[in-house]
Subunit: 246 residues, 2 copies
């Protein structure tokens, strides 16, 4: 149902009720954006321009896209909005593995069931590409394979950065790094639009919501940032933040 193309090879015939999408540089349509991770800015570069058919799907804020343990049938690219991938510990604590914004992919896994769940942080539009584990990598032509590989490597790099962020760092270091990352991904200086709640941020950087709040307030008192509204951050002293972050 979710999938359209045969294993990574375009097959327009199967593109039924839904629009076809191309996995290409700047391919995202200009939908009214309610929530980029950072500010609207330069689209994230994807190192491919390969035609790949997929099915466009919409999810309302908070909706689950797939659950931990569910069979892997697709991987996804974000067209608009923000998605989080996460796991839940036995005591209920949530750990957010990553936020995925326009142009980024998620859900690409080797095993046959998802190790993480995915949820819409904001209302969002994604494209599902048929994918059922490593076997799916077989058929595609060289260029498609290369595209998917590039995307996987991008995930790997982001995940690596994340685990370095979580290592032995203070709350201030983590949050400075988090904000700088958002600013970089968002594109322009000036303001960052937070797509996610404080709780999301806390679960991403491995802190409590109170510590996140306190640290942001401290940053503001120190004139490192301004918080004109609850979901908007302005970097006032980027170099000091960089210094802090490491």
């Amino acid at each position: 149902m979710l999938t359209v193309s045969a294993a990574l090879a375009p097959s327009p015939a199967m593109v039924a009720a839904n629009a076809e999408n191309r996995l290409a540089r700047n391919a995202a349509p200009a939908l009214p954006s309610r929530g980029s991770i950072g500010v609207a800015g330069a689209p994230r570069q994807v190192p491919t321009s390969v035609a790949l058919a997929g099915q466009v799907l919409n999810f309302a804020e908070g909706r689950e896209i797939y659950a931990e343990g569910e069979a892997v049938r697709s991987f996804y690219k974000v067209i608009d909005g923000v998605v989080r991938t996460c796991t839940f510990a036995s005591d209920g604590r949530r750990q957010i593995d990553g936020f995925h914004a326009e142009g980024e992919i998620f859900g690409l896994e080797m095993s046959d069931e998802h190790r993480l769940s995915a949820e819409a942080v904001t209302d969002c539009t994604v494209v599902a590409y048929r994918w059922a584990g490593l076997a799916s990598f077989n058929g595609g032509d060289g260029e498609t394979a290369r595209a998917v590989f590039g995307l996987a490597m991008q995930c790997l790099e982001r995940t690596r950065d994340h685990s370095l962020l979580l290592g032995r760092r203070s709350a201030a270091q983590k949050l400075a790094a988090f904000l700088l990352d958002l600013a970089e991904r968002g594109g322009e200086d000036g303001g960052i639009d937070l797509a996610m709640s404080r709780q999301d941020i806390a679960d991403y950087v491995g802190l409590t919501i109170e510590t996140v709040s306190r640290t942001f307030s401290q940053f503001e008192r120190d004139h490192l940032i301004a918080l004109p509204s609850i979901r908007h951050v302005v970097l006032r002293n980027r170099s000091a933040l960089v210094e802090l972050a490491d």
Copy 2:
């Protein structure tokens, strides 16, 4: 110098002074092993059996294999011994991204310079495969591409697990998870041979060396483990450890 084959395609002609190696299931030669991560056991399965030429290299304990910032010319597979990949914060703190044992790869990166450095935890033997970023993915035949892709996905999974480990978890949870991971990778039950120092462990799980030591001692007092020698751990109550880890 380090590289032997043309981009991921076997080219025996270039295999000059050094032995050729095949990236295959159970390909590792039976060298006298001084340091697997865990106990000697079932070889880590690699989901490929593709011929791939590479150059065999040896590194003494503590030696640097490549440095952060260095140009990416190869990725590596561990034949024997253990390798760590890590970064250094500006204040000198080290963060270990991963330990890589027999059969595992490291150093596969998309960018043109290494974001991490790699060092020999023990005396070790690795094979270097020519690799210069995403462009290297172009030439190979389908099967080689698939092999490399599978390896990249394996790295991704390990890195994901690591970042979940580092999130909001207590020292006991982190170390229980660490020991269970080693035990699983090592193969058999019974004993775990720690290839790495307490400092290495601390830098991997994001704790101080003192906390690692104290927690191990506490585990021993609680009969979760035994520590017959400094580099040897016996799991005495695996289910309790699993419970602890989450």
